[in-house]
């Protein structure tokens, strides 16, 4: 499903029109068009090296496209909007020898905040993230989770209209993950448009209004989760049976997608009722659910398929 979502009537935070970026012989992003509505949470997914970070860097005007046009917060192909963008890169970048307060003040003032506002905002965010007592400690004294929260504060401190988060949850424990997720959703409620890239499909399903997938530099998915799932049909069966995946082996028209240990996901080419009958004859069935494919399943179908299964525009 690669047709762009219907954004008519909604103002756009980001619009990419036929954007191409090459590095030497390698085409990182190929003829990409994308429209991110204001106030939405837009998920960028795709395998490593597929072009997500390059796309993000082009939105930030760190890279310039070879072809095509990029419009961000109403500014066309200039960095004029950059002070209104918050950015959390995939690999965290904080000065280890600076104190938390100074590093945040530096990033805030680079985004155009004055000292007084930045001082207030730093106090507010450190309090909110439970890091107030670390304000005057050096960054090198922080744990990984704390440093990640500081990096997030650096991205949101200047009250951006567009927040770009590259893998914001990687390496976080569940408690810190929840803190960060709540903070992101609060930013969205404030009216901020959020673009975030992730490898966590469950998180993308839960948080995103729209999902965009890029694969080998080309757009392969773009739309709401429901629309994307609908385009793949209702061909997924979730099972919990005695004997696990082995009990299903040899049944016609059934292909194992994921073995989660307690449950398994299958793609069923035929009638699910026939499959249920066949299973009941073989083993005891505890759970049988016919569902749309998960985002994870769709991702796998695209990124690790037989060549003929890859959907291109």
């Amino acid at each position: 499903m690669i047709s762009a979502p219907d954004t008519s009537g909604r103002s756009l935070a980001v619009r990419l029109t036929n954007v191409t970026k090459t590095f030497g012989q390698h085409t990182a992003v190929n003829d990409l068009s994308l429209a991110v509505p204001n106030g939405s949470v837009y998920g960028f997914i795709g395998p490593n090296g597929s072009g997500k970070t390059t796309t993000i860097r082009m939105i930030l005007h760190i890279f310039h496209p070879d072809r095509g046009e990029i419009e961000v917060l109403g500014e066309r192909s200039t960095r004029a909007a950059n002070d209104r963008i918050g950015y959390l890169p995939e690999e965290r970048g904080l000065y280890k020898k600076m104190t938390v307060r100074r590093v945040l003040a530096y990033y805030a003032t680079l985004k155009g905040m004055n000292h007084r506002d930045s001082r207030e905002a730093i106090g507010h965010w450190l309090e909110k993230m439970g890091l107030a007592k670390w304000a005057n400690h050096k960054v090198e004294a922080l744990s990984k989770g704390m440093a990640q929260k500081i990096q997030f504060i650096a991205a949101v401190i200047a009250k951006p209209q567009l927040l770009i988060l590259d893998e914001p949850f990687s390496g976080l424990d569940p408690v810190n993950l929840e803190v960060l997720r709540t903070a992101i959703l609060e930013e969205r409620q404030r009216g901020t448009t959020v673009i975030f890239s992730t490898h966590d499909m469950t998180m993308a399903e839960q948080m995103c209004d729209f999902v965009f997938m890029i694969y080998k530099g080309r757009k392969v998915l773009d739309g709401t989760l429901a629309a994307i799932q609908s385009s793949y049909g209702v061909d997924t069966v979730r099972l919990r049976v005695d004997g696990g995946g082995e009990a299903v082996r040899g049944l016609d028209g059934v292909q194992l997608i994921r073995d989660l240990g307690q449950t398994q996901e299958f793609r069923c080419a035929g009638d699910p009722q026939e499959l249920l009958k066949a299973l009941a004859a073989r083993t005891r069935v505890h759970l049988f659910e016919v569902a749309k494919p998960s985002l994870h399943d769709i991702f796998i179908r695209i990124a690790a398929p037989a060549p003929e299964e890859v959907k291109h525009e």
């Binding site: 930030l60 950059n82 970048g93 904080l94 020898k97 990033y107 003032t109 680079l110 990096q151």
Partner: protein, 440 residues
Amino acid sequence: MNKIWRVAVTEYLNTVRTKAFIIGVLALPVLICLSIGLQYLGQKNKDIRDQRFAVVDRSGALSPVIAAKAAERNEKFIVQRGPDGSTAQRAPKFIPELFEATGATGTNAEVILSERVRRKELTGFVVINTNAIAVDGSAEGDLAWFTETQSNNELPDWLERTINEEIRRLRFDQAGVDQALVRKLSRNVTVKRLGLSKVDATTGEVVKAKEANRFATFGVPVGCMFLLYMMVMSAVPALLNTVLEEKMQKISEVLLSAVTPFQLMLGKLVGATMVSFTLSALYLAGIGGLLWKLGVLNLVPPALVPWFVLFQLLSLLMFGSISLAIGAACSEIRDAQNFMFPLMMVVMLPYFVFLPIMQSPGSAFARWFSLFPPATPSLMLLRIAIPPGPPWWEIALGVVLTTLCTIACVWAGAKIFRIGILAQGQAPSFGRLFGWILSK
């Protein structure tokens, strides 16, 4: 402009607030004080134990004089009197003993005495051969000093001086020449080094030439040049390290989402320049204070200060932009060091040639070398500091050429910085760097 300033201020504060900076500021004066202090301590704690030595006098005429001169020295010349009248010995006493080299001991004198030196009974021994006094005697082997501690020069030097004086006296006596007359006839005349005389325009009187001062003609130019070198070296390698650190720790990407690569690079350059000027202000103030205390501050022309500041600025921008470009292009310290080596060679180039330029500051060699832009800041400053200085057109041409070169370096550095700062992986070749400079 505001963002460049924010980057510059942060870079500046990040540097001057570190212990390394404070240590760096104090390092030079501390090292100088330490060196003077240790030398003073070494002098004060000099080994003043008696130095005994044997004299094998085969000439038969010199040992009494050696004994007499040693006694005179021990009594008069090695004792220092303090202001309160107290006395302190400042050098070891030399205590000679005559070794009768006759019969078996005569032939084995060197072996016997060497053994005594090894047993630490003697510091050494001197052997004066029979023909030492003869006018046509061979120079080699007339006088020999034997010891284990060859690094000790004080005693053999004193012996050589004392014995030669006596030999000379004996030879003059034998020739019937009046020694006092010889001393008068062979008196040295010394060259008095002066500047130039001139006629005072207002009074019409002749102003006599002033005597040249070694500090003004040598100390000030060399001091200026080396201070400039220190200021450049305090900033240029540090720039490489900061940008490399930001790149390795992925800070650059965060910064580049807020500022352009050029703003980032210029901010860093300005910050490093501010750090370097802070250092030079501290050092110049300290050195100025010291010279004032010593009463020689008037020997430093005040006009040197603005030249120093201008050349410091040009050097920092020129070498700093290249250093930043190298830091941005590399992802590992080892790669960066490979690129920095040629740059450091260029920075040090003037220090390989400054001595001949000091000898003839007006020569063609000095002129053309000081017009080579990377060397201009150091060498033109050196030439300006040596009176009367180069012609004005050479200074003007040097400044113009260096400014153009600096602009070119900042421009090329910015082109490399823009691409290199986000490039990962293997360090680029020189060819690739040139490609980046020429890219749109």
